[in-house]
Structure formats: C-alpha cells, structure tokens
C-alpha cells in the first residue's frame, strides 16, 4: 500500500484536471465518513466535503508536489468541518436565545431515527479527535499513517485516540475503551477506502 501511495502522490501534477478528478474519486468516501463523524449530520458532511473540494480546486495550481495530496485534502476537509461546527454552534446559541421563554421544542423524530447514538457520541468529540478515531478504527490507518496524514506526531495521535476511547466508553459503554493488543487481536485491520498514505 505504501509504495502505491507514494507512486500516486508522485504522479500528481498541480493544476492538472485529471489528477484532481482522481484525487476526488479516491478520497471522497474516506473524507465523507470522517466528516460525518465530526458533524454528526450526513447532509452537512456531504456539503462540507464538496466545499472542501472547491477550496482544494482553487488552491490546486499552487499545490506543492512534495506533499502528500491526501493529507493536504484531509486538512482542508477537517478545517471545513470545524468551521461548519462553529457556525452550527453559533446558530444553536442564537436559536436558544430566540426561544428563551417559550416552551422547549421536542426532539425531531426524524433526527432521532437517522442519527445513531454512536454518531452523536462521535460528533460530541473535538473534531480532530473524532477524525483520528474514524481513521484509526474505521478506515484502518495506523498511528504513524495518521500522523503523516495530519502532519502531527504519533504521540499526539495516541493521545487523541485515548481521549476518544475514554469519552466514548463513558457515553456508549465500557467496550469502547478497547483492550490492550494481544496475539489474538493484533494485526486486525479493516482496510476500506485507504489510499495515498505511505507508511514510510
């Protein structure tokens, strides 16, 4: 995977339409899942991913080829989702202020039906913590790959994952705290939609 990822990154030509289309096809599913975990809303996640690709397309002619394009896209997408969450929080505060004094509105049944408790718990995490958790336990990246993707240290990734497990176990149950790797669980990966990140 690593060699393939390096070849993909090396072949990218800044400003080239075909290469950007390839980036879009290869990274869209991963980014969508990650942003879904951050925003907690499928429509918002799709909107943020599209917005992130618009930003990336504008910056594509200035992209530096020595950088991994998947990591570059990941940063843009996570930042877009963080901005969305800030705006959503401001909207909710404004909504609370408007409804002050009125009877509290009940929960939207449609919202309850579509958003699971897992998604709600993930969306309650800090955005980068949620993103790392999804990359690690859903997309199957290891800590080193996540660190390379985000341009942070492995230690930072480990800290974020521990924070996510603690918070999720508090909300969803002790099973979400995880177990120390044993010979039985070690090496279990769920590679889905991984592309472009080398484990050098």
């Amino acid at each position: 995977m690593g060699a393939e990822g390096e070849a993909t990154s090396a072949a990218m030509r800044p400003g080239n339409r075909d290469d950007f289309d390839r980036l879009y096809r290869e990274n869209y599913p991963r980014l969508l899942r990650t942003l879904y975990a951050i925003t907690g809303d499928a429509a918002a996640a799709e909107d943020c991913v599209q917005e992130a690709f618009v930003k990336a397309w504008r910056a594509w002619p200035r992209f530096r080829p020595e950088r991994a394009p998947e990591g570059w896209l990941h940063q843009i997408a996570v930042n877009t989702a963080i901005s969305y969450r800030r705006r959503a929080k401001l909207r909710s505060v404004g909504e609370i202020l408007r409804r002050l004094g009125r009877p509290a509105a009940g929960r939207d049944p449609a919202d309850a039906a579509t958003t699971s408790d897992v998604i709600k718990a993930l969306a309650a995490l800090p955005p980068r913590v949620a993103a790392d958790f999804v990359l690690r336990y859903h997309h199957g990246y290891n800590n080193r790959e996540i660190a390379r993707l985000e341009g942070v240290s492995e230690r930072t990734v480990g800290t974020r994952l521990a924070q996510a497990r603690d918070e999720l176990s508090r909300r969803l149950g002790p099973d979400w705290r995880g177990k120390l790797p044993t010979s039985e669980t070690e090496g279990v990966h769920f590679p889905r939609g991984r592309s472009g990140v080398s484990d050098a």
Binding site: R25, R33, F53, G158, K179, P181, E186
Partner: protein, 158 residues
C-alpha cells in the same frame, strides 16, 4: 503507551453507524461542486495571454488619446491648394473644430479667410498668363514683343 484495540463487535458497530448514515457512492467529478468552477478559473497560460492583450489595448488607448496632438495644418493647406486650382473659393470650406482650436492662438477667431485673389501666387494659377492680360492695355514700349505677337502690326507692315 500501548495503543488499545477495539473489539470486532465494536468496530462493526462503528462501521454500521458511519456507513448507514452517509451515502457510499460519490458523485462523478463532473457533477461535483468544484466542476462548476472549471469554466470560471482559466489556466495560467490563458491568464497570461489575457493579461498581455489587456496591456496592449491599454497602451494603444494611451497613445491614441494621451499622446501629442497631431498637426493637421497640412490638410488645410492641401485643401486650399486644390480649391485654388479648381477655382472654388476656399472660404466655403470650414476647417475642423480641432484645427480651429489648434490654430486659435495664432490667428484671430473672426479673421476672414483669405481669398485666393488676395494671396494669388503666380505659380498656383491654373489660367495661362496671356489670357489674363488685356491686349489693349499693354504699351508698345516692348520693341521685341511684336515678333511674338500672332498678328503683325499694321504700321510695321507697310
């Protein structure tokens, strides 16, 4: 610090939650939102070409309107010369307002236009010289002029 692993059951639960809520199939790149920007954002080569054309156009406009005024006296002189040759008084021709304004510092605005008779120059007259001279008014002091006359004088003939 050793990294903890989630059990298969929890991973499956996580994947079900993520896959169930978000659509798996991505839109085609041509249907993506960024595809609408492709027409609006020209390539660097086209941008450079457009910039060159814009600079050239601005230069032409600057030279045409902001440069030194072109002297047009030669046009008026040529028209006057032709009108004299044809026989039309040049006063009927009106110079262009620009010419008037350009020469206003040298001439009076209401000064009459010089007639061809007043400024008649021998070289520009299209008529032959002998047709303008009345034969009776010429004195006979030119002794040699009789040889050139087409008709001999009656006194010299007898």
């Amino acid at each position: 610090m050793p990294d903890r692993e989630l059990s298969r059951h929890i991973r499956r639960q996580l994947s079900a939650a993520l896959d169930g809520g978000s659509p798996l199939i991505a839109a085609l790149p041509s249907q993506a939102r960024f595809a609408a920007l492709r027409g609006a954002m020209p390539s660097p080569r086209w941008r450079l070409r457009a910039l060159t054309v814009a600079v050239a156009a601005a230069g032409i406009v600057a030279v045409a309107f902001a440069g030194p005024s072109q002297p047009r006296e030669w046009v008026v002189q040529s028209v006057n010369g032709i009108s004299k040759q044809v026989g039309i008084p040049a006063g009927s021709a009106t110079p262009s307002p620009k010419n008037e304004s350009s020469t206003s510092g040298q001439k009076k605005p209401n000064a009459p236009i010089e007639s061809p008779e007043a400024t008649a120059e021998p070289v520009e007259s299209p008529e032959p010289a002998e047709s303008q001279q009345p034969p009776a008014s010429e004195p006979s002091d030119e002794s040699g002029g009789g040889d050139h006359s087409p008709e001999p004088s009656p006194s010299s003939g007898d």
